[in-house]
Amino acid sequence: MIAEKYITSGCLISNHTVYKNGELLFVNKDADVPGFLLSVYKHFDINYSRFYKMDNLSKLGWLASEILLKNSFQKENYRPEDIGLILSNANSSLDTDQKYMTSVKDIPSPLLFVYTLPNIVTGEICIRNNFKGEDAFFVFDSFNADFIENYVSSLLDNNILQACICGWVELLGDEYKAALFLVEKLKGNEAVSFTKEHMNKIFDDKKIN
């Protein structure tokens, strides 16, 4: 039942840069974090007004998923329930938690409260793409490629999913990093095998080959 699994697309957003499959696609060092995220949205010519309602963590994860999937994923080849997300980070939704806490001193904001859970990032990506499959959010001190490889592999090997977006979406104040991997059972042109070594290389901003 062990299937061949491949990373068919990889996206890294960090240090005010956007990389896809090892190639630098965008850089904007002159902005603060919210400004940077907005400039990414505009640069990639995305038209999705819901973006403006999202908190910074969701904006980051959602943008990474948009870039990850653009021209790299044949969604129509899958049923919605066969596509899922396994995401992780270190600080959960603490960035928005702090903002919500500030609102509590005055009038608690339901718009902020709804983003005080890390899996809302997952929800936003699912809504955008109509992904209805297995999803989960784990919290680790640092990116745990070993866990992600084992967990996502078992979902694909057992046919719980046929395609999975997995990785790391972390944002707290000025510190942020998103590293997303699209994992499928088919080998495309730029695909590399789905291993923790390959994920760690992409995560550390190193080219695979």
């Binding site: 702090q98 919500y100 608690p108 809504i127 209805k132 999803d135 967990y151 719980i160």
Partner: protein, 376 residues
């Protein structure tokens, strides 16, 4: 794939510190939900199931926060009643929580030390070190389905062969942060919650902790297995459930497939039943779509309130004990059916010959989860 054994469990709640104490109180219709006047939590009085403050040492006086102490007390009781060795290299600790130590934002000024202290992996590590777990703990934080998701994570880690035992513990404490948030949504009932009732008007929050220990090894197992489960996403809205219930239904039918069972094999259902207008309506539709509308259903939120990261665990453990004792606990707070698709709501203690129980949950972010427990 065969199921995974449940070898021990604990519920630590305002109505009891052990599973057996809890089950005894539920049989007597004792609820933990009371009216509270606590301006540290809310300007207005509110109904919730909270621990008696004197029962736990205050955060400032102790190395561990209240949240961590709840986890540790629950794990301690469950471990004592099992032969599982926390320090074994084939044992993993899995923690389920929605907000962990978030109340520190209320009492401390924010700085890097507090940031670290609030972090869920910090709590997980402290708890792991206390018991001598040698593997890195896994933390699940996925809104109100976290508890069921943690059980499924444990089941899958054991089935993959990576581990032999999984100690799965969940907790959430009710803080001003959490209570004010649900109040801002107008989601809190003015009285004790009424799951599935025509007059239901919101949730009651609750705090609690629970632990389930799973093992590949039938030694000391008590005859109940986790047979399968599934998770899905509505892909519709981040705070309201699906209008159709189709995705929760999908999680239910995938769970039945995973467990090699049919709808007709399910003897009772422990629903999420939070008592909001929308959740109970969606859940009733989903259960009906899955052809389970005649199966006895309960919600335990009338006894415990909504315990967030602990809910899936507390309510699963009660269901497991219902299988053992062949007794389903009624739905406290329910009087008259109030969903478009009526369910068979359990209103009295129900005796029978029960083999398979389905547990469901849904949460913010559009997530849904289901799991099946079976008596061997």
């Amino acid at each position: 794939m065969s199921g995974v054994f449940i070898v021990s469990d604990n519920i630590l709640s305002p109505i009891g510190l052990t599973t057996s104490k809890n089950f005894g109180q539920l049989k007597k219709s004792v609820s933990g939900i009371q009216k509270h006047h606590d301006t540290a939590l809310s300007d207005q009085p509110f109904y919730a199931a909270l621990f008696d403050q004197s029962g736990f040492i205050k955060d400032s006086d102790h190395k561990y926060t209240r949240f961590e102490q709840l986890l540790m007390a629950s794990i301690s009781d469950a471990l004592q009643n099992s032969s599982v060795d926390a320090g074994d290299k084939k044992t993993v600790l899995i923690i389920s929580s929605t907000k962990g130590n978030i109340s520190l934002l209320e009492t401390e000024s924010y700085n890097p030390t507090i940031q670290k202290r609030i972090s869920l992996p910090t709590s997980a590590k402290l708890v792991a070190e206390y018991f001598g777990f040698i593997n890195q703990p896994v933390v699940v934080s996925n809104a109100c389905i976290s508890g069921i998701m943690a059980i499924l994570t444990g089941m899958r880690l054991i089935q993959s062969g990576q581990y032999e035992n999984a100690v799965i513990a969940g907790a959430d404490v009710i803080s001003k942060f959490v209570l004010s948030g649900f109040q801002s949504f107008q989601a809190i009932s003015p009285g004790p919650c009424k799951p599935f009732d025509v007059n239901r008007d919101g949730i009651s929050l609750g705090e609690g902790a629970a632990t389930i220990i799973l093992s590949a090894n039938p030694k000391n197992a008590q005859g109940i297995k986790v047979m399968g489960g599934a998770v899905s996403n509505d892909a519709n809205h981040i705070s309201a459930p699906s209008r159709t219930g189709a995705e929760l239904c999908q999680a239910i039918t995938k769970t039945l497939d995973n467990a090699h069972l049919l709808a007709t094999d399910i003897d009772f259902i422990s629903a999420h039943g939070t008592a909001t207008i929308y959740n109970d309506e969606m859940e009733a539709t989903a259960i009906t779509l899955a052809n389970l509308q005649t199966v006895p259903v309960n919600s335990l939120k009338g006894y415990y309130g909504h315990t967030l990261g602990a809910a899936g665990l507390i309510e699963s453990i009660v269901s497991i004990h219902s299988l053992k004792e062949n007794l389903v606990i009624p739905t406290l707070g329910f009087n008259e059916t109030g969903t478009t698709n009526p369910l068979n709501i359990c209103t009295d203690l129900l005796s029978g010959n029960f083999t398979n129980c389905l547990k469901t949950a849904s949460g913010f972010g559009g997530c849904n989860a289901a799991v099946v427990f079976s008596k061997q």
